[in-house]
Amino acid sequence: MASSDGVAIEVRGLWKIFGHRADRVLGSPDAALDPAALRARTGCVAAVRDVSFSVRPGEVFVVMGLSGSGKSTLVRCLTRLIEPTAGEISIAGEDVCAASPARLRDLRRHRVSMVFQHFGLLPHRKVVDNVAYGLEVQGVPRARRHERAREILTLVGLDGHAEARPDQLSGGMRQRVGLARALAADPDVLLLDEPFSALDPLIRRDMQAEVVRLHREVGKTMLFITHDLAEALKLGERIAIMRAGAIVQLGTAEELVGAPADEYVADFVRDVPRSEVLSLRWICRSPGGDERLDGPALPARTIIRDAVPAALESDAPIRVVEDDELLGVVDRRDILASLAGAGS
């Protein structure tokens, strides 16, 4: 699954500019203009601007941004559903931009699958035929692809719905079909484009749990697009925040909340309960001269909230350690302050 250099998706300097003279904008000073000015000057819209990132095999990588930030365009560029204007993309070592149509189809059939916001199911086919569609276009014989489709339906919890029609299912079940379809070809990478945005909040929570479970069970590399910060923090090992086509910050949930790169990100993460995202590393301080150093030791990556029981049991401050080295201490007051949401 992993390529030789241990990177599942590698994107370098990716641009997508919509408009008649897109390639002329690139490389000219216009490319640095902000979107409104660019549009007024050239009539072009830069949806993705100089984006670079890499995703490790098995990682859940989240791209988060508001609508119009270019995240959906970005994910479509990865398999060239939208032709990128410039940049390099490699998926599992394969140079996507240089691929011939046949190689590209091969990539889409076997390596990368996509899940869509509006499901994109085929209403004239039974659920099992929807799930088997990807295998069907590969030319897999009917009996084999149906067998595989039923396995996958069991995996996503749709046992017994194989013969139903998509319009007989609820929204959450439809997206399970979408997930199953993407998983059926056993791809290395799953691209999920706002898969749960069209669902009710309760169902959305179930489906998020489902993704966590599937990720644990099948271990696919996932690139997850969302406009919902809570969803991003919940699912993403690393998160890229996009604004106006560019990535403004890329990091773990902790890094985004603890050290926002700019006002925009800070504004975004303002309402996130810090004690549930940040670890002790962010609030520990060097011990005062009169403080006891015989309290319980906790690793630095412990989430603040999880340190509460230890703090309750011990009168002495908690020692925060990393690789057997003392980083600092945290006492009850520090923990309470961060639980109450006081800024640092």
Partner: protein, 668 residues
């Protein structure tokens, strides 16, 4: 007009020092109001100038009609040349003659296949087909319908008509469906085709005929080609729309799974577009049915010849059976194709249905073998005599009423308007057209409209164009008044709508010239007959568009108006009608195009003008040139009227989609 109505900048608020024209996009009306003039001042002034010019220049610069104008002679010479070189010129030898042979051969094959099983066999097959697609009800409809052809004494003619329709439809679909699919996937081709299809759809039926004669002579082959050209636009347009409408996310999903373009087309786009493509087939058949009758003018075999003969001789008894047979055929084919198209996407006919359908077909054919091929004469109902008596009686006893209506319209509307139009200098008429089109559609449509109008002058048909225009204007006025009233009534009263809707549905399934029948029976062969027929013909779509437009006004806006305490009347005038404006303008556009088509056909029953020229072009060889030119002139007139009223159609939406939608609505 849009902007001036949407933001009628009250004069009081316009700053006195504001430079004229500062209203910007508001156009001429807007700048007039910003200068302190009311909105109606400019049109009124324009009208006053036009009237003054008419009074001053009446009778000058008119272009009276001449039967031997140079363009007519030119076309006559062309025909003589074509006739002389039909078997010499390579264009004919290697292309046109082969098309003629192929299409003619196709017709012969269809005719033979349909004739072979005999009347009982064909009826059985039709019933089986109906049963298969729509169950017992459609099967019974098909059986009764086909049986009635025999009872009407028109079995042979009906089979010939059916063969002609099938030939034309097959050719239309063979070309139209692939082209439509291609257009559905390629926006570029769609843009390229849209104006061509637009013009094809506003072309009155008559205009197709003369060129066909020139190339393919008269007979089934040229009739089939004319019918094909007439019925191909819906095949292309609706198919393209069907493919285009397929959910983009399903197509994207298919691509993302590595499907080739062909796989996506076959497994996603075509299956998901199936119902709408069925609609395209249905519309193609309906168009073909109305055209094959008119194609009888160029010697198409079948029911049309009876109808044309009846029309030209004002003999209702002669054409009534053929008219009924055509309507029945339209209903049967409509029901069968519609039930095939609207079946749920994944439902397939059950086994019992197949068995019943097969049994019906086989039984019918077996019966056809046993029975004589000829439909039994003793079962034929002959009612030409009684019908003619009834018509005579109706004419006689309602004479007071029908005569009064006819004379009132003729004396009060037709004659004065016609003398104004034919008596005005050509430049004045053109100027008025330019002004009106500019105001409704802007500079480009105005230029096209005037160009088309002026082009009729060098054709030598200015005066006849004015005569036809007169008839169209009167008919359109009556159509719009009646259509608006009925549409508003239906939108306001669900009960009225429930009664009216099936009538409209039925009316829209019928081929156009059927409406000439009652008109002819009541009013004889006069100009008013054509007006009456075209009003009946054009009312259904107008009513429907108006009703839908008013009904579809956003419920939120209606609720808001109600919560402000509007009365019913205020709600209608201040909210519903203004918000439905686009639909109403579209209704006007549709009404005008349909009216023109019918008025031209009315040339058969004494409407005079261009339609009469076309008809006489087919009956007298020496008039062929004039008929040909008149066909061209009707097209020009159609484009002109369409451009004038197109303001609603093109400015606010994707071009060309509306006409499609209306056609689709017909059956939806």
């Amino acid at each position: 007009m849009t902007t001036s109505q949407a933001s009628p900048a009250p004069p009081a608020q316009a700053a006195p020092g504001a430079p004229p024209g500062s209203a910007g996009s508001a156009g001429s009306a807007g700048s007039a109001s910003s200068a302190g003039l009311p909105r109606w001042a400019l049109p009124l002034a324009g009208a006053a100038v036009a009237v003054a010019a008419y009074v001053a220049f009446r009778g000058t610069a008119t272009l009276p009609h001449d039967d031997d104008a140079a363009p007519f002679q030119l076309v006559n010479d062309l025909r003589a040349w074509v006739d002389a070189n039909r078997n010499r010129s390579p264009l004919f030898l290697f292309f046109v003659n082969y098309v003629r042979l192929f299409v003619g051969g196709l017709y012969d094959v269809f005719h033979l296949v349909l004739s072979l099983p005999g009347w009982a066999g064909l009826t059985g097959v039709a019933a089986g087909l109906g049963w298969l697609t729509g169950g017992r009800r459609i099967g019974l409809t098909a059986a009764l319908g086909f049986g009635s052809f025999g009872v009407l004494g028109l079995w042979e003619a009906s089979v010939a008509t059916l063969a002609l329709v099938l030939t034309a439809v097959l050719l239309s679909l063979l070309i139209g469906l692939p082209l439509g699919v291609w257009a559905g996937r390629s926006p570029r081709l769609r843009r390229l085709l849209a104006p061509v299809l637009d013009v094809m759809q506003i072309m009155p039926t008559f205009a197709y005929l003369a060129p066909m004669v020139l190339f393919f002579q008269i007979g089934p082959a040229s009739a089939a080609v004319a019918t094909m050209i007439y019925s191909i636009p819906p095949a292309i347009r609706i198919t393209a729309l069907a493919i285009e409408q397929v959910s983009a996310s399903a197509v994207e999903a298919s691509t993302s799974l590595g499907a080739t373009r062909w796989q996506t087309l076959r497994k996603v786009q075509l299956p998901m577009a199936r119902a709408t493509i069925g609609l395209a087939v249905n519309q193609t058949i309906m168009m073909a049915l109305s055209m094959v009758v008119i194609a009888a003018l160029i010697a198409a075999p079948g029911l049309g010849s009876d109808i044309i003969r009846g029309l030209t001789r004002a003999n209702v008894g002669l054409m009534l059976p053929a008219g009924v047979a055509i309507v029945v055929m339209a209903v049967v084919l409509d029901r069968i194709t519609m039930s095939a198209a609207t079946r749920a996407p994944y439902e397939t006919a059950g086994r019992t249905r197949w068995i019943v359908a097969g049994a019906l077909a086989v039984g019918g054919v077996a019966l056809g073998r046993a029975l004589p091929a000829e439909f039994p004469q003793e079962w034929v109902l002959r009612f030409a005599g009684p019908v003619n008596e009834a018509v005579a009686w109706a004419k006689f006893s309602w004479y007071g009423f029908t005569d009064a209506v006819r004379n009132l319209t003729t004396e009060a509307l037709l004659n004065p308007l016609q003398s104004v139009l034919t008596g005005s200098p050509w430049w004045l008429v053109s100027a008025v057209v330019l002004a009106v089109a500019w105001r409704t559609g802007g500079p480009r449509p105005a230029a096209v409209a005037v160009g088309c109008l002026l082009a009729t002058a060098p054709l030598g048909l200015w005066q006849h164009t004015m005569e036809t225009l007169t008839t169209v204007l009167v008919a359109v006025a009556l159509t719009l008044i009646a259509g608006l009233l009925l549409g508003i009534a239906a939108a306001r009263s669900p009960r009225f709508a429930a009664v009216q809707r099936p009538l409209l549905d039925a009316a829209q399934t019928m081929p156009a010239f059927v409406y000439l029948l009652p008109a002819l029976a009541l009013f004889g062969a006069t100009r008013f007959t054509a007006i009456f027929a075209s009003v009946i013909y054009a009312i259904p779509p107008v009513v429907r568009l108006v009703e839908d437009g008013i009904r579809n006004v956003s419920p939120a806006a209606v609720e808001a108006a109600l919560s402000c305490g509007s009365t019913d009347r205020q709600l209608l005038w201040k909210v519903r009608l203004p918000l439905a404006r686009r639909a109403i303008l579209l209704a006007a556009n549709q009404g005008i195009v349909m009216t023109l088509a019918m008025v031209v056909v009315g040339g058969l029953v004494g409407a005079g003008g261009l339609g009469y020229d076309v008809v006489s072009g087919f009956s007298q060889r020496s008039d062929f040139g004039m008929g040909f030119a008149a066909g061209v002139a009707t097209v020009l007139l159609g484009i002109m009227l369409d451009r004038i009223t197109q303001g609603a159609d093109e400015r606010n939406s994707t071009p060309g989609s509306n006409r499609m939608t209306t056609r689709k609505k017909r059956i939806a």
